[in-house]
Symmetry: C2
Subunit: 241 residues, 2 copies
């Protein structure tokens, strides 16, 4: 019996190590994606096409991490057949990496706008303040979503979901001012559209960060809040203590 117990402990230690490892890989992927977004925004603001090309090339690594982590998840499910909270963790990881991969895509899209902006030269800089501001806002959201995941911190996750509403309203106001800008000087239509696409990408990053935070809430509370309005969110999460 002693022998069997120590065997079981051994298996369970291995299993925990595997879960830790896949969680770490997810956080590593998250860190990379966070960098990609930061660099993409910098490249756009500074018209730095070298940095932009670096971001575009870096997307391959993001994609590879997604594939690797997905395989790790499948392997764990097949071999360990986890139950309850372990199963939820693996499923959440497999969803979160989809969001991270798409944030990586948005970083590439922003970088492609940066390359175009650098080629066009000129300065239709009216929205650079907004791009910087919204860029740093969604960067914070992403960092907090990943921290919330690492620590299984529901409060931080809820704050991230709520922050997305601010980003949406900042985005809408930036877009309105860009439309006005275009109308006042139609020669700026081309470059201003580029800035609009970049802003749109940043707004999508906020959505994905919010999705990640929602997975944390599901993981910890077993509560699916993907389609709950932010106003009802705090109340629902508190009910499910």
């Amino acid at each position: 019996m002693l022998h069997q117990d120590s065997y079981k402990q051994h298996i369970s230690a291995q299993f925990n190590a595997e879960l830790e490892s896949v969680k770490n890989h997810l956080l590593e992927m998250g860190g990379l994606v966070e960098q990609q977004i930061g660099k993409a925004v910098e490249s756009l603001l500074n018209r730095d096409s070298g940095l932009a090309e670096e971001v575009i090339a870096g997307d391959v690594q993001v994609n590879q991490l997604e594939i690797n982590i997905d395989e790790e998840c499948s392997r764990i499910l097949a071999r360990r057949q986890p139950a309850a909270s372990d199963l939820r963790l693996v499923l959440a990881i497999s969803k979160v990496i989809t969001d991270l991969e798409r944030i990586g895509d948005e970083a590439s899209k922003i970088a492609r706008q940066a390359v175009k902006a650098a080629e066009e030269g000129g300065n239709a800089g009216s929205s650079f303040v907004e791009i910087r501001h919204i860029g740093s806002h969604v960067g914070d959201m992403l960092r907090r979503a990943l921290d919330a995941f690492a620590r299984l911190d529901v409060d931080m996750a809820v704050q991230t979901v709520i922050a997305d509403r601010e980003v949406d309203s900042e985005y809408a106001s930036a877009m309105r001012s860009l439309v006005t800008f275009m109308m006042e000087d139609p020669r700026t239509i081309g470059p201003v559209l580029g800035q609009m696409w970049a802003l749109r990408s940043l707004e999508r990053v906020g959505d994905h960060a919010s999705n990640i935070a929602e997975h944390v809430i599901y993981l910890v509370r077993g509560l699916d809040v993907r389609h709950v309005e932010p106003d009802d969110l705090v109340a629902q999460v508190e009910e499910h203590q």
Copy 2:
């Protein structure tokens, strides 16, 4: 022994029934989402805000289906602990419904543009041909992706992925002509932007349909082609017969 065999058969029949059921629910969700996209495009082209509101309201049902199917998948994984191809099927379903849910979101976005266009009145109809064309193209892609899933038809899935490249080029050309249109008549900037956002949404629908087709390829061939260039796709899939 006979008793045990028939018990095993019973379990396995139940398990197959559960897999069939979740697959059917996915196809049902796919059918609904396909309708949502079709209606959203119609509402935009005909400035039919009644139909557009129907689409916006219908998104709740799409979201609910996603949640239900996700729960069904978790339940199967927890109770049946499937292996090999059954495990791959459940994981693929759980990824595909994420794409379907996002196609549903794009349908809502298009419908919101339709409501705005109907309010604004007027007619900046230059891109209606393109919207109709790209709309029916991505509608076809989605239908084929879902058929490929239902029949596990790799060839059809490959065709769907390749079709996405055509959509991308149609999209790029439609966007160029809209930019020209805006520049020639800056009074149209507002409504034309609305059409651009709608086109962008349709282009995203194509991406998601392509993702679904990629999951079919993974399911049947065990080959992850998510980040393979379309030119290399046919060769890679043939190698993995």
